[in-house]
């Protein structure tokens, strides 16, 4: 078939030029390329920098014994294996690397096991049994997920601290008149327990979701064939929730590797180091090369975990359980145990969820730490003036005002809010753009590299990520001035660490906007900007807003990521808590903690309310 009567009309310009112009005017390509540049800057450069720094000399290496003894000449930037040797092959290795590694693994495995046990038991009770008041329990059980992890550690300290290490006695010693043994007060056991009380929420949420999606007819079919309850559990239920369990495991494990606040509060007083606190201490002691090697180890561990996750459950990540209409979920009758189990669950919530917050709040009202009697009550740490004195005439908190009247705290609070606001808005915008470029470019190399690059910060533990940014932005790079000590650096690092979350939510939101909705706009000639503002953005708005609030809360409570980067002028609430607690001013630390907890809780409530009202608006016909 020829093209008779349909000749090619003359078109101006060369085909090649037209091709380029068209490629460069495709919105997903343009946005994608810009984002790629940004991601290279955010992710690849820090990764190169961390390896480079650990393999080269820096000025501070002059005082290292290995350098002094051998009379090595330190030229900053010159290649050296001195850090490799110090960390992996010297008499320091045990103390600096092996023991922290062992401690990290003990803690991470312990907390993963304990939190999965708690989380999935609760999930099963709430989703699959006739336990009373399930909604309330589910809401309370997810509180630890909302608030930061270290308040529980602070509460633990106020209950179990002993006078052996100096300071005032805790609640336990006050009541029983004997100091609790060291292994209860500090070290691995309390770290594992307090972290599990935070991280169990991951397992609770993912396993509840998986259990809720199992049609109980799948189990009933097996029961009808004569399988025992236990066999049904083992052969049907467990395999179906396995992907959820695995992802809870990975999530908890990789978070646990990098956790900083709790091991710092409960480990450092007895010189119990994990990799994260060791990195912190190395940086503080001006040993960046050694610190970065440890950070690389942490990154490798989390990468391996995530890789194994992909290997093990990659093919069957989630089961699509095919069910027709009339999805049924039959509940297990707990019979006579119903109320006993209920009482136990309530007790768990009271002691481990409400309890820590209650203790922290109480502590902020104690004039002298460790005296739990009523006459010791004071409002000073909230609203007291400068230079107030206590009952015994002592200067309270070294003369500092209560947190609501303390200009330093207000400055930190303003920094926190400013940081959280900037980061959350930028992260949400970045997320929508990433989602657009990834989803619309699906199948292209650009889309794939954006997807995996934006996921990369996930494997960087917070403290390691902070350390990397510290090193990278300490000096001028190209047009970017040295950023150490600036607010901009905090924004950059928080934004970069939020990338995995941003791109996931952005992608998810974009996947919900059927491509055809945008194409219907293309057909009538609406340009990219118009399509974005009139079609895509309105349809992703609720996800966008929820993303902003969630990022706001997470940034508000972030400690490990920025603890190395703040300076007196950029300090934020969480780092103030860290300093106060380190310095023994528990009332101040706890008061600010409760403030951050309140912001987190209120923010989450707003998200839930907002999403509910949005759903009922009938969007998504």
């Amino acid at each position: 078939m020829g093209s008779a009567g349909m000749e090619v009309p003359a078109v101006g310009g060369s085909p090649l030029l037209r091709k380029w112009i068209r490629n460069l005017t495709m919105p997903q390509r343009v946005i994608g390329l810009l984002l790629l540049v940004l991601l290279v800057f955010f992710v690849i450069m820090p990764a190169i920098n961390i390896v480079y720094t650990s393999l080269t000399f820096s000025l501070s290496d002059r005082r290292l014994p290995q350098v002094v003894d051998r009379g090595l000449e330190v030229v900053p930037g010159e290649f050296t294996t001195i850090h490799l040797e110090r960390v992996f092959w010297s008499k320091l290795t045990k103390k600096m690397f092996l023991i922290p590694l062992r401690n990290t693994l003990i803690i991470t495995l312990g907390l993963t096991a304990l939190s999965m046990l708690i989380g999935s038991t609760l999930a099963w009770l709430v989703v699959r049994t006739n336990l009373p008041w399930k909604r309330g329990i589910a809401n309370f059980a997810s509180i630890p997920y909302i608030i930061p992890s270290w308040p529980i550690a602070l509460a633990w300290i106020s209950v179990f601290k002993n006078t052996k290490l100096g300071g005032n006695p805790g609640w336990f010693q006050y009541i029983f008149k004997v100091p609790p043994p060291d292994w209860i007060s500090y070290g691995p056991l309390p770290i594992i327990i307090t972290l599990s009380l935070h991280y169990y929420a991951f397992s609770f949420i993912t396993v509840s979701g998986a259990l809720a999606s199992i049609d109980s007819r799948l189990e009933e079919t097996a029961e009808l064939m004569g399988a025992s309850k236990f066999r049904v559990m083992r052969k049907i239920t467990l395999p179906l929730v396995m992907p959820a369990l695995m992802s809870a495991f990975i999530l908890t494990f990789s978070k646990g590797i990098g956790t900083f606040g709790t091991p710092a509060f409960l480990g450092l007083p007895v010189r119990f180091f994990t990799l994260s606190t060791q990195v912190y201490s190395n940086v503080k002691n001006n040993l960046p090369g050694d610190a970065y090697l440890l950070a690389i180890v942490m990154i490798l561990i989390s990468s391996i975990t995530i890789y194994m996750n992909a290997k093990v459950i990659g093919a069957r990540r989630s089961f699509v359980t095919i069910s027709g209409k009339g999805f049924t979920a039959k509940l297990v009758n707990l019979r006579k145990f119903r109320w006993i189990v209920f009482a136990l669950v309530i007790l768990f919530i009271l002691i481990f969820v409400i309890g820590p917050l209650y203790i922290l709040t109480w502590q902020t009202f104690m004039e002298v730490d460790g005296d739990y009697s009523l006459r010791n009550f004071t409002l000073h740490y909230w609203i007291g003036p400068d230079g107030a004195t206590g009952r015994l005439g002592q200067l309270l908190g070294e003369g500092q005002a209560g947190i609501l009247r303390n200009s330093e705290i207000w400055r930190a609070a303003w920094n926190s809010i400013r940081l959280a606001l900037t980061v959350s808005i930028l992260a949400a915008i970045l997320g929508v753009l990433l989602g657009y470029a990834i989803v619309r470019g699906r199948g292209t190399k650009l889309s794939k590299s954006l997807d995996s690059l934006s996921f990369a910060p996930y494997v960087f533990p917070g403290i390691a990520f902070g350390a990397v940014y510290l090193g990278m932005f300490a000096k001028r790079i190209g047009p970017i001035p040295a950023l150490y000590g600036t607010f901009a650096l905090l924004v950059l690092v928080s934004l970069a660490k939020r990338l995995p979350f941003s791109s996931r939510t952005g992608t998810a939101a974009m996947l919900q906007v059927d491509k055809e909705l945008e194409e219907a706009g293309v057909l009538v000639g609406a340009g990219f900007f118009r399509r974005f503002m009139k079609i895509i953005f309105p349809l992703t708005k609720s996800g966008f807003m929820a993303g902003i609030l969630l990022s706001f809360i997470t940034t508000m409570r972030e400690l490990s990521l920025i603890v190395l980067l703040v300076t007196p002028s950029t300090k934020v609430l969480t780092t103030m808590i860290f300093r106060y607690t380190e310095g023994g001013y528990h009332q101040y630390g706890d008061a600010i903690t409760m403030f951050v907890v309140m912001i987190s809780l209120v923010g989450t409530l707003i998200i839930r309310k907002a999403q509910k009202t949005d759903l009922s608006k009938g969007i998504g016909g």
């Binding site: 078939m1 194409e519 293309v522 609406a526 998504g620 016909g621």
Partner: protein
């Protein structure tokens, strides 16, 4: 057909997704006023072809002409934007913007074209009356029934006055009864507007009832283009024969027997005399007979009834014989048959199709 004006021409159109060839160098002419259906199983390339014509998908090779204009050519890097191709598209999902009212949905394209708002209002109102939705302007799509949503989609397309209508399985989201109703609405729309329409479906009945011409596709290749009658009565190959048949076409391996100067096909116990000359030197070929093209006669071949599926208006009967052959039959209900009955079957005059064993191409 050739008297009509050529509206769209696809010239060696090709589309690859990675290693997968979705559309494999197809040539197709579509004439002014045609209602052409691209018909085929899922993954045959029909939707990709439609999207390439619309410009929403950029093809990997070949040329597309619309109204004598080159709108796409890989070789010359010509690509005319979808909105400049003078066409409208009804999506499978309708793609009504859920956050806009019916009115806003229809007015959107006019606003993009910067029409004065008075004129926009007038046009939208007129089109809403056309599709009998004048009461529904302020509703959101989710507050409408499936059929009403479809009419909004039609109105949104019509208001921009495109010369070509593209429809991508627009009825697949509706329940059976509504589908019938909307089918006749679409047919009326075509009769009324005479607009060249390209319609994509995998439903052969839809294709048969709506189209002026059908283009059957499979694995990215056009297998046959013709009127519904042509496609039904003279399927070009085994694929078309089996795809356009409900209940399924009966296929037999036929042995060619030459007795004196006559040629016979022996298959499933039947013996059919065929015009000599069409089989050539073949010893074996495929014989296909539609379920409705058998009749019961005393001289027929005996078969045992296995199952009988009455549909009310007719009955589908499955029969088999000892040598393992089985046949699906479609009878009206007057034929009195029970399971395990033995019936004698014959093939209606000239109602058989012969295909080459290897190429699958039609022989008779």
């Amino acid at each position: 057909m050739d008297n009509n004006k050529l509206k769209i021409r696809l010239d060696k159109l090709r589309k690859e997704f990675g290693d997968v060839v979705a559309v494999n160098d197809i040539n197709l002419d579509i004439y002014e006023g045609d209602f052409l259906t691209l018909l085929g199983p899922s993954g045959c390339g029909k939707t990709t072809t439609l999207r390439a014509i619309s410009g929403l998908e950029e093809a990997s090779g070949g040329k597309i002409f619309i109204d004598n204009h080159l709108v796409f050519s890989k070789k010359d890097e010509v690509f005319v934007a979808p909105s400049k191709r003078n066409l409208g598209l009804i999506f499978q999902s309708y793609a009504l913007w859920p956050h806009m009212t019916v009115y806003e949905n229809i007015a959107f394209g006019l606003k993009v074209k910067k029409l004065p708002s008075g004129e926009v209002a007038k046009k939208v109102k007129a089109i809403l009356e056309d599709v009998q939705l004048d009461e529904y302007g302020e509703r959101y799509p989710s507050e409408l029934s499936g059929g009403q949503q479809q009419r909004v989609a039609i109105a949104r397309m019509l208001v921009n006055q495109p010369q070509i209508f593209l429809m991508d399985e627009p009825l697949s989201n509706l329940d059976a009864q509504l589908r019938m109703e909307m089918r006749s609405e679409l047919k009326q729309l075509h009769t009324r507007t005479k607009a060249t329409t390209i319609y994509v479906t995998h439903d052969q009945e839809e294709a048969m009832t709506l189209s002026t011409r059908i283009c059957v596709m499979n694995e990215g290749i056009i297998r046959q283009v013709g009127t519904p009658e042509e496609i039904y009565s003279r399927p070009a190959d085994i694929f078309v024969a089996s795809f356009i048949s409900n209940p399924k076409m009966n296929f037999f391996i036929g042995k060619v027997e030459n007795i004196k100067d006559k040629t016979f096909i022996e298959a499933g116990g039947f013996s059919i005399e065929i015009p000599s000359g069409i089989v050539g030197a073949r010893k074996e070929l495929r014989l296909a007979v539609r379920p409705e093209d058998f009749y019961v006669s005393d001289k027929g071949v005996p078969y045992t009834v296995q199952t009988r599926l009455p549909t009310g208006r007719s009955q589908i009967v499955m029969v088999g014989n000892q040598s393992g052959a089985s046949i699906t039959l479609l009878f009206n209900t007057e034929v009195n048959i029970q399971a395990d009955d033995i019936i004698h079957l014959s093939i209606k005059q000239e109602k058989y199709h012969l295909f080459d064993n290897d190429s699958g191409k039609r022989l008779n």
